[in-house]
């Protein structure tokens, strides 16, 4: 395998890590507005991701940084091309991060409600916007010969992109509900389980539509395989939810997310940014890649750091593995 192919896989892996981990952060954020009945329950939900959300978010920063290092052209084209959605994403990330940290810093009702609303809205928007960006990237953008995105922001509002946004919103909310059922105890756990069943059914319908469309417009044999795994994962997650096997349900929804990200990247490959204007102007992984020297250094760094990161993040999850209920909130 060529180094730039390896790095395509590694970038896909970083995004998979991001969506697997932040997926349930977004879901918990959305659900804290609907699933929780009172302030204590909202706090229970927020605290299920309390110690880990920051580390989860770094997967995004690393994915961006690694893209800059390994595929500078991709980084430049993607980020300048998706200017307005990224502006919205960044604002949501900023407000949500501050909301987590500042919500409990003052006792006032208004203060806390404001930050709680911020968590709900920013999480929901983020869940949907990432779907919009990724669907558009896979479908292709009006890329000119210099790998610059032309056209206005309205090009983003293609039905496929909107379907992608709806799909990731429901998918991440489902993932969050499964996570909530796994991490809480008492009433809220029962409600989370029930919500997971509904959301799972909705996810399955949207997944069928979105993955079929992806397959039809830009898929190949590999992406078909990944889509099949995703479908199987979702169905297994639904079945496990129905039986009350929360650990299994979470593992399966995780597998489904990984397979969906894989399907998207496989549909994209060997391009990183397809052009809707002219096939000759597609930006491919090979064209966008950094030099072999840089890729080699990055490979060594990733080989050293990634297992370590996974190990200490896993340890963090293990330290905070206990279920949380309203009795734990002082």
């Amino acid at each position: 395998m060529e180094l730039h192919d390896l790095w395509f896989v590694l970038i896909a892996f970083l995004w998979t890590g991001y969506f697997f981990l932040e997926g349930f952060d977004f879901g918990i954020g959305v659900l804290s507005g609907t699933l929780a009945r009172d302030r204590a329950e909202r706090r229970v939900l927020i605290n299920t991701i309390g110690p880990v959300w920051d580390g989860n978010e770094v997967w995004l920063v690393t994915a961006a940084g690694a893209t800059f290092a390994a595929f500078p052209e991709w980084y430049a084209t993607l980020f300048s091309g998706f200017y307005l959605p990224l502006l919205a994403i960044l604002c949501c990330l900023i407000v949500r991060g501050v909301a987590f940290e500042y919500r409990a810093k003052r006792p006032g009702e208004r203060w806390q409600r404001t930050w709680e609303h911020a968590i709900v809205w920013c999480s929901g928007l983020l869940a949907a916007l990432w779907g919009l960006v990724f669907a558009t990237m896979v479908r292709g953008v009006p890329l000119d010969a210099d790998a610059e995105v032309t056209g206005g922001p309205l090009d983003l509002l293609h039905p496929y992109a909107l379907l992608g946004a709806a799909f990731t919103f429901v998918l991440f909310t489902f993932h969050g509900a499964v996570f909530a059922a796994l991490k809480t105890t008492g009433d809220i756990r029962v409600r989370a389980r029930r919500a997971a069943a509904w959301l799972g059914a909705a996810t399955a319908v949207l997944a069928a539509a979105f993955l079929a469309w992806t397959q039809a417009s830009s898929g190949d044999g590999w992406s078909l395989g990944a889509s099949a795994v995703a479908a199987a994962g979702l169905l297994a997650a639904l079945a496990a939810t129905a039986r009350g096997r929360e650990g299994w349900a979470f593992a399966c929804s995780g597998i489904a997310i990984a397979a969906i990200v894989a399907a998207l990247f496989l549909a994209l490959f060997p391009n990183v940014m397809p052009s809707t204007l002219n096939e000759a102007w597609h930006l491919t992984a090979e064209d966008a890649a950094a030099t072999p020297y840089t890729l080699r250094i990055m490979t060594w760094a990733a080989a050293f750091a990634t297992p370590m990161v996974i190990a200490y993040q896993a340890w963090t999850y293990w330290v905070f593995r206990k279920r949380i209920g309203t009795q734990h909130i002082a």
Binding site: P51, L78, I324
Partner: protein, 508 residues
């Protein structure tokens, strides 16, 4: 298009505003992480409650601050690609590597272990819990190193070649990029300046409480730690600044000539104390100077020639073709002065405080105070400062909290704007670095949104810091004094049922 609204101008303002804002939180985060870790170490080693209370107090302020540092830093990771896509294409092969290394090796560390530290008070045994804050501290320092190496490459590109075919910079030597003298000097200068910020922050808030005679035991310790940090960091900042200055004279003479408003090459060259210049015609109208000092700052002797702006301009035109190679000279001149002035003023106030609040040595028996009384401010061995003057010292100390922050901001404004018109010195002009595909409206929109959002968050953040700083250190709870002995939260002689229903020590 009118230059005032050129894409480049808007993108520069945006980068300037967001970066200066980010760097208000960065130095405080770097230094408070280490200082909090130090205080917690003192608690774990001695078991004295005042150290635990100090750890909790400064740790809380640290967390309020790091939250803003994280979210404002997030934006920077994307801004290169969004507003400066031509720059990103041109330098990505070189510049991307330190950025990716920073995320992989430092950001994961910081963010994961800060979660363990915040939520781990009742889940981890004291020594492991202590290790987590040291990990956070290590992460902050590492990330500073990588990002400063990346910035130093823009100031003084090394370890690369230009690929004629693709027209891009390509990395040839990562070790050169990570260890060049600019990177090392920038890192040393930035680190010491960061600790000056943290030291002054601690000393200022401690002074606020000591002036009112509250929380004395904790605040005496904090004042001492703060003042010592200020003086050591201040002295090292001056030293590293001098070294960095010499490197700059070597690598970017135009920046340093602008910093001194030195129009014509002179040897020996004077250090300017105050100048009013005529930028158009390239000379000073008013100049108060110390003869020979600039030669020393540049070359370690008092007579060597230092090149001036007008001569450098000619020289650069010969090398790079026609154009204006001068940065904004009044900005460079004054930012350099504000940086040194505020930085050294805070160091001097720290040194004065260290002398005024000294304890056993050089202080007569009757003036010594116990741990539970505020220290007496003593000028000589037997004489205290009058209450009025003493009150003024405490107030001045409180004000001094802001000085190093101002100095840090001006220092960065100087180093970044002094490099104009280059984004990569001598290689890539700023004007060719902006995103061609991003419209002026988009940049203007994001500029307005970020500025407003940051302004609102700044007000929220400052009010929270003031609130918590005024409240003082918390009383210790039963749980604080009875830390867990096992990972996961168990204490000696406790059943699983007791453990499982105990409220969390910290929850959002």
């Amino acid at each position: 298009m009118d230059l005032a609204l050129a894409d480049e101008t808007l993108a520069r303002w945006q980068f300037g505003i967001t970066t200066v804002y980010h760097f208000l939180f960065v130095p405080l985060t770097i230094s408070l992480a280490a200082l909090t870790a130090g205080l917690q170490t003192a608690w774990v080693r001695t078991g004295k409650e005042k150290y635990l209370r100090a750890t909790k107090f400064w740790g809380k302020l640290f967390l309020i601050n790091i939250a803003m540092g994280v979210v404002t830093g997030l934006l920077q990771e994307f801004q290169f690609g969004m507003n400066w896509s031509e720059y990103s294409r041109f330098v990505g092969d070189v510049f991307g590597a330190p950025l990716a290394l920073e995320a992989l090796l430092a950001f994961f560390f910081e963010s994961t272990f800060i979660g363990l530290w915040i939520f781990g008070w009742d889940k981890l045994p004291p020594k492991i819990h202590l290790a987590t804050i040291w990990m956070v501290s290590l992460g902050t320092v590492l990330s500073a190193y990588f990002i400063l190496a990346a910035n130093s490459w823009m100031q003084h590109p090394v370890g690369y070649r230009i690929n004629e075919e693709s027209g891009r910079a390509e990395l040839t030597d990562i070790v050169a990029v990570l260890t060049q003298n600019t990177a090392v000097a920038q890192f040393a200068h930035t680190m010491t300046a960061a600790f000056l910020v943290g030291g002054a922050f601690m000393a200022g808030i401690a002074a606020y409480h000591l002036m009112r005679g509250r929380h004395v035991a904790v605040m005496r310790t904090s004042l001492r730690v703060g003042l010592v940090t200020m003086v050591i960091a201040g002295a090292l900042t001056a030293f590293t600044g001098d070294r960095l200055g010499k490197i700059m004279y070597d690598q970017q003479p135009m920046k340093m000539a602008s910093a001194e408003a030195l129009w014509d090459t002179e040897g020996p060259a004077p250090f300017s104390l105050f100048a009013v210049g005529d930028v158009e015609n390239g000379h000073n109208e008013v100049a108060i100077e110390i003869p020979g000092l600039l030669s020393f700052l540049a070359h370690d002797n008092f007579s060597e020639e230092v090149p001036g702006i007008n001569d450098l301009q000619e020289q650069l035109e010969e090398t790079y073709g026609p154009g204006d190679y001068r940065p904004n000279i009044p900005l460079a001149y004054w930012s350099f002065r504000w940086m040194i002035g505020f930085g050294m003023a805070s160091t001097a106030l720290g040194a004065a405080g260290l002398w005024l609040t000294r304890r056993r040595l050089w202080l007569s028996e009757r003036l010594r105070t116990s741990e539970d009384e505020p220290p007496r401010l003593a000028l000589t061995r037997d004489r205290t400062l009058s209450p009025a003057l003493g009150g003024w010292y405490w107030r001045l100390m409180l004000l001094t909290m802001l000085f190093p922050l101002i100095a840090n901001a001006w220092g960065w404004i100087f180093t970044e704007t002094g490099r104009q018109p280059w984004v990569v010195y001598g290689v890539l002009p700023t004007a060719s670095a902006v995103s061609p595909g991003v419209s002026q409206g988009e940049v203007l929109t994001s500029l307005v949104i970020y500025t407003v959002l940051y302004a609102v968050l700044a007000i929220v953040e400052v009010r929270l810091v003031v609130r918590y700083a005024k409240a003082g250190p918390p009383e210790l709870t039963e749980a604080d004094l009875n830390p867990p002995t096992r990972i996961g939260g168990g204490r000696a002689g406790e059943t699983a049922a007791d453990r499982d229903d105990r409220p969390m020590a910290f929850s959002y």
